[in-house]
Structures are given as structure tokens and as C-alpha cells.
Symmetry: C2
Amino acid sequence: MDLTEKKLRGEQVFSGGFLKVTRDEVELPDGKVATREFIRHPGAVAVLALTDDDRLVMERQYRYPAGREFIEIPAGKIDPAEPPHETARRELLEETGFTASQWRYLGKAWPCIGYADEVIHYYLATGLRQQARQLDEGEFLEVMLLDRDEVQQMALDGTIADSKTIVGLHWLAAWQQGKLPGETV
Amino acid sequence: MDLTEKKLRGEQVFSGGFLKVTRDEVELPDGKVATREFIRHPGAVAVLALTDDDRLVMERQYRYPAGREFIEIPAGKIDPAEPPHETARRELLEETGFTASQWRYLGKAWPCIGYADEVIHYYLATGLRQQARQLDEGEFLEVMLLDRDEVQQMALDGTIADSKTIVGLHWLAAWQQGKLPGETV
């Protein structure tokens, strides 16, 4: 059965300082018309940065929408015309101060398919070296180096509750078990 | 270091047929003021529904924002004043036609901490019995029963690319390995 919804017309109905909302009228598989509202997002990257002594570079960050702190992997939005693997290098350095000698691509996932077009590309960074970090103005986050097994446990006991991070840890474990190729980039 | 951002003032700046955007001014940890825009969402549930012969109830659904189909676990929004475990029973029945004799709570995760307050509660449903499904008007999805090992493989090879589903499969695997309690609800 073809489930495709075809765009009939559409417009941007909200443009804030950060969020942009599009509203399209679409034709459903049965020919009826429905409305779809969603956030347009440039896409993002997330980085599993693993030290030589098997620790993960993690961040503690307050996330205002949820009103709480999260422990997360480094991540950030793709700049216009920026290749995602460059975003990964840039964000890891800016947020944590780490550079990496080896980069692998683990996969991509859509975090919010109900109301956003955002896709997140996941990278594994190894051969880490630390420099000074370069946080954006108004960006506050604490960098932590945590034992990989401890982080995997935190993704089960509720300490890590950010879906992006749990997906990344799932793929890291699969890569370490030889179940995911992790192509060098 | 206290990373909390304190609300100074705020308002709803967009209210569409489906999405609501809030814009707040907040005080940052250094005392400066910044703007936070985000989607207000009532929260959702997602269901790992496992048959007695070790198959998962999966859905194929077209997701307009991403412009493609996804293979997903059943999920849906929490209705006003609805307890999440009731949402789980309702959505599984409506979308797939299955009821379950045993329900377990696996955990919760935030899919979009950058721009939404949505939290997703994950349930494991077993002891399944099939009835007729009751799709909402304008809802089109195909229900599939897929071997659990096959589904886990699909979460690694790119066939499953929905973060909500990958998180659920991660927790299902942990529960089956005895690493997650999965309290009965």
C-alpha cells in the first residue's frame, strides 16, 4: 500500500529567533486533504568521543524546554552548506576542546518524526587530544569524562534520558561488538 | 556548577492546529538574559509489543516532515488527564488491534531536548491478543509482525531510523538480558 502524502500547497506560518514552522496541505492516500505542521531544522550531528582509556566525553547541560539537566553526548546543528562530518569536528572542539585523529560514521536517525524534519548524523571519534574549548556566547555546559561501562549503565537506570544520547550509545555498543561497520570518514 | 536557567517572562508566540510554540526570556547562569523558543507537547507513549512467538508489532507509516516512510513501534500522544499507561493501552489497540495481558514500564526519554518539552514513556506489552484496530480519521499505517532479531538488525543497518524506536529496542534488549527491571504496571 502506498502511504505517501503529497504536498498540495504550503507556507511558513511562524518564524521565530530560533524555530521555523511550516504548514502544508497534503493529499492523503485516500485522496482526502489534511494539514501537516512541522519544524524545519537544518539537521544535526552527535559525537561518541572515546578516549584511549575507554572513557566517553559527555556533557552536563541544562535544557530549558524540559526544565532539567541532561547528561548528553556532544552535538550541534549543521551550519548552512557545512558537510556533517565537519560539523562533528567543529562541535566536538568548540564544546569539549577535543580533537580526534580518527572519525567513523555510525548512522543517522530522525529524533522527532511527528513534527520535525531534523535528522541527526552520528560519528565515533577516537585518538582524542585535548585543547581549549570555545563555547558559543551564552552556552553553558560542563564536560565530563566517564567510564564507558558506567555511561552504558546510566542509559538504563534513567540517569541518561536524552534519546539522542541513548541512540548513540546503542550504536557504539553495536560497533564495539562488530555489528556495525562504522565507515571511516 | 549550577547550570539552571530561570524564567523571567514568557508567552505563547504561535498556536497552530497542531503545534504550539512558547518563547521565554531566561536568566542564564552568568546573569545575562537569553531567549528560549520551544514546542509545548503533552507527552507521548511508545509500546514494545512482543508476541508469544517472539515477534514485534511494528508499523510502517509515512512521515510527512521527513518526506519518507518509517518502520516504528506503536506510539501516540497522551490525552489531557490521561495516565500514560492508559495511553499505551489505547494507542496499541487503536493503531494495531492488539490487547495485552501484561504491561511493564521500561523508562522514559526526551526525544528533542533542544526545542521541545516532549517526554516519551516506554512500555513493554506481552500476552497479546488481536482484535480489530480503530484508526483515527486520516491515519494511515500498515501493521507488521516482525521477528525480534530481525527488528534489532534493522535498527543497525539503517532500515529503522526513528530514534523513538531505536531507544525502545535498546531497552527491550536490556530487559531481555535482565539489565532493566521493567516494573509491572
